[in-house]
Amino acid sequence: MSSAVSGTKAQSGAGFRLPLHWLGVVPFAAFILLFLILPTMRIVVGAFQNPDGSFTLENIWGLFTPSILAAYWISIRISVASALIGCLVGFAMAAAVVLGGLPKWIRSPLMTFSGVASNFAGVPLAFAFLATLGPVGLLNVLLRSNFGFDLRMLGFNLLSFWGLTITYLFFQIPLMILIITPAIDGLKREWREAAEILGASGFQYWRYVAFPILLPSILGTFALLFANAFGAVATAIALTGSSLSIVPILLFAQIRGDVLGNPHLGYALAFGMIVVTGVANTLYIWLRARSERWLK
């Protein structure tokens, strides 16, 4: 492949002023087309086709059955909850390290750890939480032997809405820290001093200066975290098996064995996922462009 690339480039660089520069990106474009665009288009088109191949909206309507709607609803709730808490905790930790007057050396290890933790997702993450919050996990054993009660007696179950949310936070919080720390760094000292000279209190500075500047970054990261949680498959499957019916698990089972009994309904299910993550990411890109106006 590389020799083909350089072959076309040699032609275009040989001195003739033919407009052949675009040939250099042909291998890349072909790869993107074959293994990203076309497969996705196949799903999108399939969502609007019946088994004969003609256009229909029936598959989309098929999504509005109680069981599928319930799957979307719990997926969206888990994604919103983990993104919201991830944003709050991540922001608090990033602000503590950047503005809280903590020793300087804490920052670098925290960023490295965030890089590791945000990539520590999938199957092993589920195992870590089973060993911690599961029936015989660390926290339950500690609580039982020291205080005579455990989380299960309080009604907590790892294979549930909150269990999944708490597990997702392990990669959501670090992602927030990684993205928001540069934004908090971008708050200029002059803005604070200017606000103080004009008589602003600490609260007023945050309410009228810092927070509005950071808001697009925070909302944008929220959208990104939401999409991140919404598309997560491996953690959910390793944690709950198939006992919790969220959209990615449902789609996984559908691809494996057509549990919905209609292949084209599977396309529609996947199409719905693209729509949800697509909207979230469009918001992220738009808000990021806005935040960059201030934080340069």
Binding site: F35, I43, F113, G122, V123, P124, G137, L169, L251
Partner: protein
């Protein structure tokens, strides 16, 4: 007062991260009743399925990295040199794998490249491996492209190219002996991240039915008690190792370029 809150936020946050790490480590050592032992690790390492799936995933990671470098470095270089107007579009396209969930992409693969299609990749084990490698390359694309593009920004691509050309170098020589060594640290960062992603990947490998490490971990998790915790510790060490290597090579570059 402010400092107190800062410490509180940090400590509570870190507690949340440290507990699962302690939990999995403790659990992985509890296989022998009544005492701590490395039995779970011995069991995992001596399992032939572990050896097979792990070496399969390592192979896949290496092939994916090589393919990613061959695909991304010439493209990023070419776009910077000759087609700067195309950059925003290419950048947007490379971010798409973060937008479209992996499960949807692999669903598309299965429908598009099945045995009755024009390119029946899933018909043979080798073809499916190729398809899986392309899938991994797609997943790693956002990280690989951004790393290489950032690396290219720090060097003067046009001047280097002209200097090499006036000395008689062809395009292959320029790419392999001028550009690649100059962005090596960036390429290595992308490569280690790709390794970390591929080694534990579950969704694509499971749905394409390949014997990779991710599906093996999930299988073991469904059937065993202590081995999964040992696997989690191993996976965490690998992730930490990959990210640590990225830090190491970028620090090496900083100290190497300081004298100039």
């Amino acid at each position: 007062m402010k400092k107190l809150f800062a410490w509180l936020a940090l400590v509570i946050g870190l507690l949340y991260f440290v507990l699962p790490l302690i939990g999995m480590t403790r659990f992985s050592l509890m296989m022998r009743r009544g005492e701590l032992s490395f039995d779970a690790y011995v069991k995992v390492f001596s399992d032939p399925r572990f050896q097979n799936t792990f070496s399969y995933s390592v192979m896949m990671a290496i092939v994916t990295i090589i393919f990613g470098i061959v695909l991304v470095v010439p493209t990023a270089y070419w776009v910077r040199l000759k087609l700067p107007g195309l950059r925003p579009y290419i950048e947007f396209v490379t971010l798409l794998p973060l937008v479209i969930p992996a499960i949807v992409i692999v669903f598309g693969y299965i429908r598009l490249y099945n045995t009755s299609s024009w390119l029946p990749l899933t018909g043979t084990a080798f073809g499916t491996d190729i398809l899986l490698m392309f899938g991994y390359a797609t997943l790693a694309l956002p990280y690989m492209y951004r790393a290489v593009d950032t690396g290219l920004r720090t060097i003067d691509v046009a001047t280097l190219t002209e200097a090499a050309q006036s000395l008689g170098a062809g395009w292959t020589t320029i790419l392999a002996r001028i550009i690649l060594p100059n962005v090596l640290v960036a390429v290595l960062s992308g490569a280690f991240l790709t390794f970390a992603i591929v080694i534990g990947e579950f969704t694509m490998a499971a749905l394409l039915n390949r014997p990779a490490f991710g599906p093996f971990m999930q299988l073991l998790g469904a059937n065993r008690a202590y081995e999964p915790a040992a696997l989690a510790v191993i996976a965490f060490v690998i992730t930490w190792g990959c990210l640590g290597l990225i830090q190491l090579v970028s620090r090496f570059q900083k100290s190497a370029s300081r004298p100039t």
